[in-house]
């Protein structure tokens, strides 16, 4: 049983530690420092958050998405066909992102996250997951002013993001995680979703993970098991029905077990974590479970995020003793 994270990590710590990235972005925005200097601070903070994950005992870490303004614009800004519009709420959170607007044919131009992956991997003693926002979610959280239908946009994005997946594979990423929270809100789109992900992942040799959050997979299981991914990540905090849903048919993939609430500061006890793992351990064997928070950790203050991870690791150790 390995521990991992879903992706994002809080960008700044609290006092007395300095909020270096916040300061650097502010200075960059008013022209006081250049892109190189901003990049240098992003590098330092990326190393720092990898170290925090490692210190907490996480087996497979992420770069914390330190360079990402949000999951959508990180890709949309670097592809052709998008403009970036006003702030809009991210699902039911009190967090906002700038809405990408599709105004022309979407086109991948050059690697977006590959260099970030290389940097993180070179500075991490543990394996690093590469992260890609999936074509369905990127389309669902954008406004489409170009394609004749939403489906056309999703399929076009799948075709283009495929280039990113291949670039990450070429950069050496052994695990590539595709994030698709939006499918939980429009489950009737599963045929389109499936077609898009088949297209995107065809021939990809790296271990591919599909992660969802903020809900359950009622209506998507078991056909989600047919998608070309070796692991499926589920949110058991906002989607407690997942416990029961995954019992309805064989779970023939690895499971990303999102059991630590990444949207609340209250720390789970070791007993609670052990119990959550026990509830799925007869459906998925422990060696096929990745234990992780319920979603990205950026909804928490930095110190709470690290405490959550340390708790989670203690809980997993407890479960390993109990379950053998």
């Amino acid at each position: 049983m390995l521990t991992t994270v879903v992706g994002s990590y809080p960008k700044i710590p609290n006092r007395p530690r300095p909020a270096r990235l916040r300061g650097a972005i502010a200075r960059f925005e008013r022209g006081a420092i250049g892109e190189d200097e901003l990049r240098r601070v992003e590098d330092e903070v990326t190393i720092e958050v990898i170290q925090e994950q490692v210190e907490a005992g996480i087996d497979i870490v992420s770069d914390g998405q330190i360079r990402w303004e949000d999951d959508q614009t990180y890709f949309a800004r670097r592809m052709d066909g998008f403009t970036i519009d006003g702030l809009i709420r991210y699902f039911d959170t009190n967090t906002y992102y700038r809405q990408p607007v599709v105004t022309g044919a979407v086109r991948w131009q050059q690697p977006i996250a590959a260099e970030d992956y290389r940097f993180a991997a070179a500075h991490s003693p543990r394996p690093v997951k590469a992260l890609v926002t999936g074509p369905y979610t990127l389309a669902a959280l954008s406004a489409n002013e170009h394609y004749g239908s939403f489906g056309d946009l999703v399929l076009a994005l799948a075709q283009e993001l495929r280039q990113e997946v291949l670039a990450l594979e070429k950069a050496g990423a052994s695990i590539i995680q595709v994030n698709e929270p939006a499918i939980l809100k429009q489950k009737e789109d599963f045929p389109l979703f499936s077609q898009a992900l088949e297209r995107m992942m065809e021939g990809v040799a790296a271990e591919a993970h599909l992660y969802t959050w903020f809900g359950d997979i009622e209506g998507l299981f078991p056909h989600i098991m047919e998608l070309p991914f070796s692991a499926i990540g589920l949110d058991f905090v906002m989607g407690p029905a997942n416990y029961e849903i995954i019992r309805r048919a064989p779970f023939a993939k690895k499971l990303g077990l999102g059991i630590v609430d990444a949207r609340n500061t209250r720390l789970e006890t070791v007993e609670q974590i052990v119990e959550c793992i026990r509830r799925v351990s007869d459906v998925v064997p422990p060696e096929s479970i990745y234990v992780n928070p319920s979603c990205g950790l950026e909804y928490l203050p930095r110190e709470a995020a690290q405490a959550k991870l340390a708790c989670m690791v203690a809980g997993v150790q407890g479960a390993q003793e109990v379950l053998g």
Binding site: A19, D70, T265, P301
Partner: protein
């Protein structure tokens, strides 16, 4: 007052530069609480003066003493809430997200003093402004309660007590904002239960403000919310929410947002009149109030004033057309 199309605002006004600077100085410990409070009062008087000069009917104190609409109350509920670490809101913006750490209870008046001061400056009614229980809970971490429902209902008792105090002080309008409600329409029943506790037994006119959301599926619940007036964001969504009123029974008052608070551009009088006319297609003027989409605090003082002037001018022209001038 006119017999219809009364004008108001949603609550917050932009803070004058001197107050923004003073708040910063205060947080750095360079000025004391008293110095800051004096400037808050000065700014409040300016906000009241501006609204009177523009000719609004129902005023607000502008929330000069508040930063974040949740943290302001959380800091005063110090026995059951704490202010946590920084959480990113968007871009490079962060806020301190409150944490519920104990059983919520009212500790004393939180808004009455500033309301009373503002009301003392004008003969027009000033609205009492409160953050609703659902939003208070949804925008805080919760380390105490076992369920959101318990937390919302306890918070509702706190907000109710504050509303009672405002009413005792003389407030005739009490607005309970629930911007978080629109993000989770499936919890509208819980929003309603919270508001029912807040408004129980109040004689003041009660209002709730909600941000734009997918309300079509829960319109029946919204129509039954235990408040007298629903204040909605409509200008920035091309008035599509008005369709709901066309197809459903609705006997509350509506405050219709007719200027977009997230846009620097000042609307034309003609545009705003068009918005008001669209409201009048589904509601009679005596049940239709006119205001901006949301709080004005993100605009500059000049933008806010310009938008309100256009709004009041548009209302005057429509009232004249309808023959309901005051």
């Amino acid at each position: 007052m006119s017999k219809g199309l009364l004008t108001t605002t949603v609550g917050s006004f932009p803070k004058p530069d001197y107050l923004a600077q003073a708040r910063n100085q205060f947080s750095l410990g360079k000025i004391d609480r008293q110095e800051l409070a004096a400037l808050e009062r000065q700014a409040t008087a300016e906000v009241i003066g501006l609204q009177e000069e523009i000719g609004l009917d129902i005023l607000v104190d502008g929330e000069m003493e508040r930063g974040d609409m949740v943290a302001y109350f959380a800091e005063l509920l110090s026995e059951s809430m704490a202010i946590g670490g920084l959480v990113r809101s968007y871009g490079n913006r962060y806020y301190r997200k409150p944490i519920i750490i104990g059983k919520l209870h009212w500790q004393g008046p939180m808004t009455v003093e500033m309301w009373r001061y503002a009301q003392g400056l004008t003969t027009k009614p000033v609205k009492g402004m409160l953050t609703g229980p659902y939003t208070m809970v949804d925008w805080s971490f919760d380390e105490h309660y076992e369920s959101r429902r318990e937390a919302v209902l306890d918070m509702a008792r706190v907000v109710h007590q504050e509303a009672v105090e405002l009413e005792k002080a003389g407030a005739r309008y009490i607005q309970v904002d629930e911007p978080a409600a629109s993000s989770r329409p499936e919890e509208m029943e819980l929003v309603a239960q919270g508001l029912a506790v807040v408004t129980e037994g109040l004689k003041a006119k009660t209002i709730t403000h909600m941000c734009y959301g997918d309300f079509a599926s829960v319109f029946d619940q919204i129509a039954r919310l235990p408040v007298d007036q629903l204040d909605i964001e409509t200008a920035n969504s091309d008035y599509d929410l008005l369709e709901m009123f066309r197809h459903h029974r609705f006997d509350k008052e509506v405050a219709l947002g007719v200027v977009d608070v997230h846009d620097h551009r000042v609307e034309t009088v003609e545009e705003v009149k068009e918005g008001i006319r669209r409201g009048l297609e589904v509601l009679p003027p005596e049940r239709l109030y006119i205001d901006p989409d949301c709080g004005l605090k993100t605009r500059t003082w000049e933008e806010a004033a310009a938008k309100l002037r256009v709004m009041v001018q548009a209302v005057r022209e429509v009232r004249r057309e309808l023959g309901i001038e005051g």
